[in-house]
């Protein structure tokens, strides 16, 4: 093929300006014109081989002029902006654009991988399933055989090459609401948009291409006396000026989700030479529409014939558009091959633009005189009742061989005639683009008259218009657009005056009147290699082989041959493939059915879907004292969404040295720790006590005002759910604290009981986790510290006994102080309004200066509670009950509560359950996290009898310890086992202990 640039004039190159643009392809510099797509510019430069096919690496040229392109895939840009598999037909040319061909070695014109073609017949559908199983001597070896082969196959497969350099661009999301969404701005979409806009409702119009107008842009027809293109431009300008209308161009509606939620991608800067990096590259639109008009047009499909994949063979309407819109002749001599009238229109328009059309080959014998005239207008030889037998030329088209064709039998005659041409423009009819409605599960219906699937009945509030709904032709498009508009308006509940609800006669149309229904011919079977799916190299023979092997259902056909699974999702190949399968099965196409389309309509950059969730923008929660921790040199650590200090390392200290120092300081003196991350729930109301009594395992009804109590919560199935302390501020007011990780789920749990189970209880809940800052002050000198700074309350043992609660003031900050201990030492938790958090921290630090107070982090917090035997997240793993964790005493037998009934199930009292113990290292070796408890040696450890849950070095015991869950553990104190950790290469001799390692009587914290 040798495509070339035509003489641009009125009606030729309507999309082009007069500005020349330079771009590069495969390292070579070329010139195009502003308004070109990369495909039209490459064609205009005479390039015919743009890509290589997936399987056989056959040379391929431009096949279409739109987003349905299967062949002309290129890689754009470089570095972190590398984009593989971009359709050249969709890329708007800009100055300096860099594109490369792909899936070829070494070059697109000479690809060594094309040797795959030699094995053509062997490389048929299902090839991989039947071989590479390897020698059948020993199964294990055989697996490796495939593994080895797979390495090579993987490298040969794949299309373009991605990058591992991060994408430097950013993306955004827009949430939009409208009354009516119009998808597509061709004749039908425009008619609908005009009609609904006039009623004043909010309208969004989405158009995939750069300019609104759809097929009107290249239509030869006149509307109201104006060329269609100009008429549509006026209409669009009028619409754009309306306040209630937004027209989004370069915006593809990709997905149709429940309740009329549409997902669209707007390409904001992709087409610009000088990109403003402060605006997003692409914007994802979530559009909620009360109703929608879907006017997405139709996609032309080819007929399949031998040699139909040669560069130079393209869809007829695309060939026409290249001439009219892009001023590019697809070849020096074009032969049109068609089974319908639109092929003739394409021929006529090509000729009008100055392209030589040598022949029109139509499989139909009877052709209307009005159509025949079109062929005569372009001085082409006309071959009706004929079809292409073969294509001459290896890397392009030199000519076609045609023969007489019997439409009824589908057989070719013995005659043959060669027609010289370098381009074949083929039309096999039109397939309505109902992808969006099919995503919703709408079942398409085969229309025998139109030889096309139509969208079928709506499952949501949408109305089809134009070619998408099988309403081909301009007049029909306008009428169906208006009809759809009225139905959509009715969905939105807008009252329409009677006059306005009438369908007008529409604009005056002066144009061709043709029959859009093709002859039911999909394939010319002359025995040569005929491609159905061009990108995946699925041939008509592959389809028949699938049939022979029993893969006859459309889904099996798709999966077995990979038909329609390439990056074009079979937009130009699905219907043809189904038709060939139907013919092979001797069934009507209607019975064969079609596969369901899946979102997105065209491939979508994942960055655009992620939108603002792109990269690392996931929410991060910081406590009010966060900056202080960072300034104090604490290593911060992600704990769920929270950032928490791990240890406050002194210079040169390791994490382990730091937490040991912090722990010792607490046990010997005093330390403070940020506990603001604990979940906090305000529980109020006359029935608050009763409510708490029902959700906790232990009694809460009699908790006195001014006291706190530790409580356990179960799930209904009897397993532990969460724990924490709850403080009674007042007769009807409590503050519940939860674990940090459990805050959200505890809140939901409580809300469930309040709303759904016991709505009769008068209780209100509010999450106040973020409203309070909390600091725990722990250690034998903690009271001393508080005495230095606390005013307006008594923190002596009498004034503030264990589990007591008082209001006070520290450095003018109103605080609530509860005497609670997680560490096992004398300790207090001090809470204040979140905005005072850092002031409180500073006040406590300065009050403690003389006492050598230390701030301590999560590691020391954890060490202190492990030594004490207090359980936390690792023990509350969703598989333990209070009985398993030595907390049976916390389970009231005097009341019913959430989980009380199922906790009584027999299995929970079994003696061999995993039970909480502590273990200590006997040989000084560190017990690493994740160890299992076994009886055997390192080499033969035996089965797991349990596992460690929380490990640390215990300064108190002077050795490594861990809490652990051990089968029947309560009765095994003193037993010697091993903590084995093969993935960390450790095997430590341990002794089982009671988990109450420090101060089991609790004298310290009560002191």
């Amino acid at each position: 093929m040798s495509a070339f640039r035509l003489n641009l004039r009125d009606g030729v190159g309507t999309n082009l300006s007069d500005k020349s643009i330079s771009f590069s392809f495969d390292g070579k510099s070329y010139r195009g014109i502003e308004g070109d797509t990369l495909a039209s510019a490459l064609l205009a430069n005479g390039l015919s081989i743009i890509g290589r096919s997936f399987k056989y690496h056959r040379p391929r040229g431009v096949f279409t002029a739109g987003s349905e392109e299967p062949n002309a895939l290129v890689t754009l840009h470089s570095g972190g902006r590398t984009e593989p598999n971009i359709r050249a037909t969709e890329v708007e040319l800009f100055e300096g654009l860099v594109a490369r061909s792909q899936n070829r070695r070494p070059s697109v014109n000479f690809d060594l991988m094309a040797v795959n073609q030699l094995a053509g017949k062997a490389f048929s559908a299902g090839f991989y399933y039947k071989t590479f199983m390897g020698p059948a001597l020993r199964g294990h070896k055989a697996t490796r055989f495939w593994w080895v082969c797979e390495q090579f196959i993987r490298r040969a497969a794949g299309l373009g090459r991605g990058t591992t350099i991060p994408d430097p661009d950013h993306y955004a999301r827009m949430n939009a609401f409208c009354d009516i969404l119009v998808v597509g701005s061709g004749a039908a979409g425009l008619a609908a948009a005009r009609r609904v806009a006039a009623s004043g409702v909010r309208v969004i119009v989405c158009e995939e291409s750069a300019r609104a107008g759809g097929a009107l842009a290249s239509s030869p027809d006149f509307i109201d006396g104006e060329p269609a293109r100009e008429w549509s431009a006026d209409q669009i300008a009028e619409l754009s000026a309306m306040d209630n209308v937004s027209i989004l161009t370069r915006t593809t509606v990709q997905g149709y989700f429940d309740d009329n939620t549409f997902f669209a991608i707007e390409r904001v800067t992709d087409h610009l030479a000088h990109k403003d990096r402060t605006v997003p590259r692409q914007r994802a639109w979530n559009i909620r529409a009360k109703s929608a008009v879907i006017a997405t047009g139709a996609l032309e499909r080819p007929m399949v014939f031998a040699g139909n994949d040669r560069p130079g063979i393209m869809l007829a309407d695309s060939a026409r558009r290249y001439a009219v819109e892009f001023g590019t002749a697809p070849g020096r001599a074009v032969a049109v091959f068609t089974n319908n009238d639109t092929g003739w229109l394409a021929a006529r328009d090509l000729a009008k633009a100055g392209v030589i059309v040598t022949a029109i080959v139509d499989v139909r014998t009877d052709i209307e005189a009005s159509i025949r005239v079109l062929g005569e207008e372009c001085r082409a030889t006309i071959h009706s009742g004929s079809a292409i037998r073969s294509v001459k030329g290896m890397r392009g088209v030199n000519g076609i061989v045609i023969a007489t064709y019997n439409e009824l039998t589908g057989e070719l005659g013995a005659d043959s005639k060669t027609i010289a041409c370098d381009c074949v423009a083929v039309s096999g009819g039109w397939s309505p683009a109902f992808h969006l409605t099919s995503q919703q599960g709408g079942k398409p219906v085969w229309d025998t008259e139109l030889q096309a699937f139509l969208p079928g009945d709506p499952l949501q509030k949408w109305h089809g218009a134009g070619a998408m709904a099988g309403e081909f032709g301009l007049a029909q498009a306008f009428r169906s657009g208006e009809e759809a508009a009225l139905k959509a308006l009715a969905d939105t509940g807008v009252a329409m005056p009677k006059q306005a609800a009438k369908i007008g006669s529409g604009p005056d149309i002066d144009g061709d009147e043709i029959d859009y229904a093709p002859a039911p011919v999909f394939e010319i079977n002359s025995g040569g290699k005929s491609f159905v799916d061009l990108q995946h190299d699925v041939t008509a023979e592959d389809v028949r082989l699938a049939h022979r092997e029993g893969f006859v259902s459309v889904e099996h056909l798709k999966r077995y041959t990979t038909l329609g699974m390439a990056t074009d999702q079979g937009k130009t190949s699905n219907v043809t493939g189904l038709a060939i399968m139907a013919a092979a099965s001797n069934k009507p196409i209607a019975d064969t059915g079609t596969t369901r389309f899946r979102p997105p309509y065209t491939p979508v950059a994942m960055g655009a879907i992620a939108g603002e969730k792109y990269g690392h923008l996931a929410a991060e929660r910081l406590t009010p004292m966060h900056d202080i921790h960072v300034e104090s040199g604490a290593g911060m650590y992600a704990n769920g969404p929270w950032m928490r200090p791990e240890t406050y390392n002194l210079p040169g200290e390791t994490v382990e040295q730091a937490y040991i120092r912090e722990t010792k300081a607490v046990r010997a003196g005093v330390g403070i720790v940020d506990v603001s991350t604990l979940g906090k729930i305000d529980v109020q109301g006359p029935d608050a006590a009763e409510f708490l009594n029902r959700v906790y395992t232990n009694g809460f009804a009699k908790l006195p005002v001014g006291k706190a109590r530790y409580g356990l919560m179960l799930r209904e199935d009897g397993f532990l759910f969460d724990d924490g302390t709850t403080w009674r501020f007042d007769e009807h007011r409590y503050l519940m604290t939860t674990t940090t990780a459990g805050a959200g789920r505890v809140m939901e749990h409580l809300e469930y009981y309040r709303d759904f189970v016991w709505p009769d209880l008068k209780v209100a809940l509010a999450s106040v986790s973020d409203e309070w800052a909390g600091v725990a002050v722990a250690g034998p000198k903690s009271r001393e510290l508080l005495k230095v700074c606390v005013k307006k309350c008594d923190v002596s043992d009498k004034g503030l006994p264990f589990m007591g609660l008082v209001d006070g003031v520290i450095a003018d900050i109103p605080v609530k102080i509860a005497r609670l201990s997680f560490s096992g030492e004398l300790a207090f938790e001090v809470y204040c309004g979140a905005h005072w958090g850092s002031a409180l921290w500073h006040a406590l630090m300065s009050a403690g200066r003389k006492l050598d107070v230390v701030p301590y982090g999560l590691e020391a917090l954890s060490t202190l509670r492990i030594e004490k035997g207090h359980v936390a997240g690792p023990e509350l793993n969703g598989r333990t009950t209070p009985h398993d964790l030595g907390l049976s005493g916390m389970v009231s037998s005097k009341k019913n509560f959430v989980g009380s009934v199922l906790l009584q199930r027999e299995t929970f009292s079994k003696q061999d359950r995993l039970q909480l113990v502590a273990v200590k290292s006997l040989d000084g070796q560190r017990i690493r996290g994740g160890s299992h408890l076994v009886a055997g040696s390192k080499d033969e450890p035996g089965i797991s009898q349990g596992h460690t849950t929380s490990t640390c070095f215990s300064p108190e015991l002077g050795c490594y310890i861990s809490l652990a869950l051990l089968e029947g553990g309560y009765k095994r104190h003193g037993e010697k086992l091993f903590a084995t950790n093969p993935v960390r290469d450790a095997h430590v001799a341990i002794e089982v202990l009671s988990h109450h390692m420090v101060d089991p009587e609790g004298g310290r914290m009560r002191g």
């Binding site: 989700f257 429940d258 309740d259 939620t261 979530n286 909620r288 599960g441 499952l459 029902r694 209904e716 199935d717 809140m747 939901e748 809300e751 469930y752 309040r754 709303d755 759904f756 189970v757 016991w758 709505p759 009769d760 209880l761 008068k762 209780v763 999450s767 019913n896 009380s900 009934v901 199922l902 009584q904 199930r905």
Partner: protein
């Protein structure tokens, strides 16, 4: 999918937390039958069709509603308030 919160109006479903089958009713507090509790916790009719289910408007007013929804088509038939204030809305 869009749900209509009785308090806040129509919202995308991601504002809500799904809480499951609303026909699974907890036995009364004084009911200590293990069988009844087991049935409440584990037995689900899991219909293909209309399903009464609980949703909590967790990113909004944080109250529950009972949604009647078709599990095959995702059509939402109704959203009714539950909880201490439900009566006031009816």
């Amino acid at each position: 999918m869009r749900l209509t919160c009785p308090y806040c109006g129509p919202r995308d479903h991601q504002e809500f937390t799904y809480r499951g089958d609303a026909t699974a009713a907890r036995p009364a507090l004084d009911n200590t039958s293990v069988d009844d509790h087991n049935a409440y916790v584990y037995d689900r009719s899991n219909p293909d069709g209309l399903h009464r289910e609980l949703w909590n408007h967790t990113s909004g007013c944080r109250t529950h509603m009972i949604v009647e929804r078709n599990t095959v088509t995702h059509d939402v038939v109704s959203c009714e308030p539950v909880g201490p204030f439900a009566e006031q809305l009816k």
